[in-house]
Amino acid sequence: MTFLPKALMLVAVLGLAACNNPNRFGAGGANAYGANGGAGGAGGYGAGGVGTSALGSASDPNSVAYFQQTLGDRILFAYDQSTVSDEGRQILQGQAQWLNAHPQYAVIVEGHADEKGTRDYNLALGARRASSAQDFLISQGVTPSRIRTVSYGKERPAETCSAESCYAQNRRAVTVLQSGAGS
């Protein structure tokens, strides 16, 4: 579990000391932090959003943790594809319902690719994936102005091994909540 210390470090960096159960951050939780940390480190846009949010408990339906872990903050894609799968639709439907009930949140959908592609192409591919998720959320009633997209291409893998088991987790679109930015 090599990512657990990093997850804890990010929790500290982000000031999320309210988290009262570090053991909750298994693979899913650590991934969520990795994505957020990468975004913040890369551009810093998360400084006013996730960085000031309390995660809460994954069993609290109004919490960020619930969105990330119980509903699922990410959908996965097949190799070199950007079509939302049936499983992805279910996750996005859950996200959309939650967002419709919590209008104080805006989101950034991050598109990602696995490492088996060139840098520019993967940026474009990640953008396609983020856009696919965005389109589906809009189709479920989420106001378009609440959703922005960004592609990280292959720059921010969630898993680091060079095998399909990791690549499958890296071909993803992650919906990152931004508190206080809803409109």
């Binding site: 551009g43 192409y121 940026l123 983020a130 856009s131 720059e155 680091t160």
Partner: protein
Amino acid sequence: MTLFRPLATALAIALSLTGGAAMAQNGPLRIEITEGVIEPLPFAVPAFSGGSKVANDITRLVAADLSGTGLFREIPSSAYISQVSSFDAPVAFNDWKAINAQALITGAVTTSGNQVTVKFRLFDVFAGQPLGDGLQFTGTADTWRRMAHKVADAVYSRITGEGPYFDSRVAFVAESGSKAARQKRLAIMDYDGANVQYLTDASALVLAPRFSPQGNQILFTSYASGFPRINVMNAANLQTRSLDQQPGTMTFAPRFSPNGRTVVFSLEQGGNSDLYTLDTQSGQRRQLTNSPSIETGPSFSPDGSQITFESDRSGTSQIYVMSANGGEARRISAGDGRYNTPVWSPRGDLIAFTKQSEGRFHIGVMRTDGSEERLLTSSFLDEGPTWAPNGRVLMFTRESAGADGAAALYSVDISGRNLKRVPTPGAASDPAWSPLLP
């Protein structure tokens, strides 16, 4: 900080030498580097006279440049029969023939205060004649490496008939941190890895620098705004500005036109990436492609009339060529697999690319009509070739597999020979070779 410290007086004086100046084109001392397997040409370079550390350093760097090409083989000084007593003394050709030195480089280094002057001559030992005129370079002491590169460039060019490239720099992305949260900084170094300077801090993810044709500006993609945007940096003072600020879009994969006025790049909107040009003086933007597929990786032909790029409009990414004004494009890649990152050679004759096939990545070259494809490398992950100024050598990123995988810079001749790692202080990616320095 300046990226290119000019030689105080570059390429100053052609010393008068007698006869033999026309040897460069037809003389017997010649390497045709496009041939398949060749025997490296043996050369001798006795320590340049002057007795100083810089004289010895320059001599060793000249030797390293030449040997580093794989085209030349240095004869160790322990084999020398003859010593060069002074720069102007007659050359004892028979002594150099006896040890099979086909080329002999002699030189002298003098210093005056902070000024260093390097003189050299190149001899065709078996013809018993100089090959070209002697040359002299003058610069400040901290430019000694550049002077050595210029000596080696002159020797390389006279013997191969190819353009020089040692006196050049490489912009790249210096990487650190774990694979899931890489930190990336823009950096620049000499072509051989010396004189590394960092141009940005690690606060924002940066990707894929590209030089302007004059070498005075660097395009790159930065996440400083939170979103990928193309930026241009003034190489003299490192001032950086974003070239495109349109909200809701992402811009990436920029490259200059040969006259340096236009930038071609990808702009993504609503998940779709197309090619655009931006006139850097008027700010006018123009859309070149309009397709639901991915269009990226654009690169101008050296005459500026055409653009090669990658597109997955056929279902997988392939290489296309179109007019620099846009319009209909013709596909030139024809083999199995995915083709990316086409880059037009500065000589105009070839397009280098990345090819993904059966789980492996390759750097390759093809003619500009797609014919005569040749793969030069193969690894877990090779990508992003950049051309040496003479169009004879490519540098690229090679990344190793696994959670501890790391990127490094490699170079390879367009013949496929002389694959080697380019030394960098840490992990490095996305090399961009500068034009030849002035």
